[in-house]
């Protein structure tokens, strides 16, 4: 008996252009529930743009994105597509969590306050419930003692862990991680990667854009190599890193190592 599980995320022939530069040229990608997928590729290959389309921070020109079967960003009827209303977009965005390269914590709120804002205003939880969820998640990322610190009082690594807790506390179906260690000092990278690893082990569905090849190899079920707005190759990490098929991937891996 074969069990057909619908993928959590389905990206179908996605096209996106900035003015006359085509950044995404028909990307197809599926992510199943509890799967960890890393996207690698040189800068300008479109991987960050792809992530931003999934979280509706960018509009896209054609193709569609389905999250849990629901069309994201656009209503498609016949051959017409219309951008959804601001309110509908906000609701859909809350189904995915996003962690950014530059943390983007709210500077006027404490660590707990950063996590509570979405819980209070989007999920409309009462204050004490939001607070206890925030404390739970700060504990999960190892920052219980920092709940009432402001971002400016935290190190880069701690800020990024708060940002991870902020995204996860909303209980998203899918978490997008956009080069989350690129802005960190080398000695702070590990604490953030360990945090992500523990999320992966507990069954969160993660779509990761990263330059950390070793991390991609350790944490992912599948690695996707993007090149010039298209997926050039994908497979289990052992194959991608151990036995690259396309010369471009081999070239990329060589230059990433040096």
């Amino acid at each position: 008996m074969e069990l057909h599980v619908r993928p959590l995320l389905q990206i179908q022939t996605l096209h996106k252009r900035f003015h006359d530069v085509e950044v995404l040229k028909g990307v197809n990608l599926e992510v199943r529930e509890r799967e960890v997928v890393s996207i690698i590729g040189s800068s300008g290959s479109g991987k960050t743009t792809l992530l931003r389309c999934v979280n509706l921070l960018e509009e896209f020109d054609s193709g569609q994105i389905l999250l849990d079967g629901e069309s994201i960003g656009y209503r498609i009827g016949g051959d017409r597509r219309r951008r959804l209303s601001d309110r509908a977009l906000s609701r859909q965005r809350s189904m995915t969590g996003m962690v950014f390269q530059s943390f983007n914590l709210f500077p006027h709120l404490t660590a707990a306050g950063n996590i509570m804002l979405g819980l209070r205003k989007v999920r409309r939880l009462p204050k004490d419930e939001a607070r206890s969820i925030a404390e739970k998640w700060l504990g999960r990322v190892g920052l219980s003692q920092r709940a009432d610190h402001y971002p400016s009082q935290l190190s880069g690594g701690q800020q990024q862990r708060v940002a991870i807790a902020r995204a996860l506390a909303m209980n998203p179906k899918l978490v997008l991680l956009d080069e989350i260690t690129s802005a960190l000092d080398p000695e702070l990278v590990q604490e953030v990667l360990l945090t992500v690893k523990s999320l992966a082990e507990e069954g969160s569905t993660l779509l990761i854009v990263t330059h950390e090849m070793r991390f991609a190899r350790d944490v992912s079920h599948r690695v996707v190599f993007m090149e010039q707005g298209q997926i050039a190759e994908q497979g289990p990490p052992a194959e991608i890193f151990g036995n690259p098929k396309s010369p471009r991937l081999a070239e990329f891996l060589r230059s990433a190592r040096s």
Binding site: R87, R91, N104
Partner: protein, 219 residues
């Protein structure tokens, strides 16, 4: 013979000066409250998506900032009644000062808004806040914190500008001082005391604003 200082008349009339000072503070407070509302609307409009909104905000700032405050006050007080808009002295002055302040505060808030990092707004969108919620809970607090020093100096300027109200016979501090001066001929004493009151009040406002600034987290 030099001029001999004698403050007796001034002390005898101190209650008038103080009531003038209180009235001036009241005028400034009213203008600040209304001007802040105007400035917020203008500030958001000047960085907003609507081209018309940006144009209107720009034109408003340009016109008002190139008019002397005294002219605005006289225009409102003497010209508006010709069009059937009758305001009493205080109303007309507070409205004038608010419109004047609104132009400066539009610029202050615009600068504050521009200084809000784009990534922080995206983070708000990413957790599912609506556009309005982001403005209210993310952009406004950051903008106000960034704008606080500029806001403080605008508020102090506004308080000093209430002396213009003397021109339309509102009995604030400058008006009272001039009256005492005329009645007592103690020119030097009157203006020394009036100046001292202005300086002291401004210092108190500035200290209050600084302590307010300290209560906000640094970022």
């Amino acid at each position: 013979m030099g001029y001999t200082l004698n403050f007796a008349v001034i002390w005898a009339n101190l209650d008038k000066l103080l009531s003038g000072l209180a009235l001036g503070l009241g005028l400034a407070l009213g203008a600040v409250a209304m001007g802040t509302v105007i400035g917020l609307i203008g500030g958001f409009a000047s960085v907003g998506p609507s081209k018309l909104g940006r144009r209107i905000a720009g034109a408003y700032v340009t016109v008002i900032r190139n008019l002397p405050i005294l002219v605005i006050v006289l225009l409102a007080y003497f010209a508006l009644p010709e069009y059937g808009i009758r305001l009493d002295k205080v109303q007309s002055f507070v409205a004038s000062l608010a419109i004047y302040a609104g132009a400066y505060l539009t610029e202050v808030f615009r600068a504050g808004l521009v200084s809000v990092p784009k990534g922080v707004v995206e983070a708000g969108r990413a957790i599912g806040l609506t556009r309005f919620q982001i403005s209210l809970y993310v952009v406004m607090p950051i903008m106000l914190r960034n704008a606080l020093p500029a806001l403080g100096s605008t508020f102090i300027s506004l308080f000093k500008d209430t002396s213009i109200a003397a021109a339309i016979a509102i009995p604030e501090l400058t008006f009272q001082a001039r009256k005492i001066n005329v009645e007592s001929f103690r020119v030097v004493e009157t203006w020394i005391v009036a100046s001292g009151l202005y300086i002291a009040t401004c210092l108190v406002i500035a200290a209050g604003l600084r302590s307010l600034e300290r209560r906000f987290p640094k970022f």
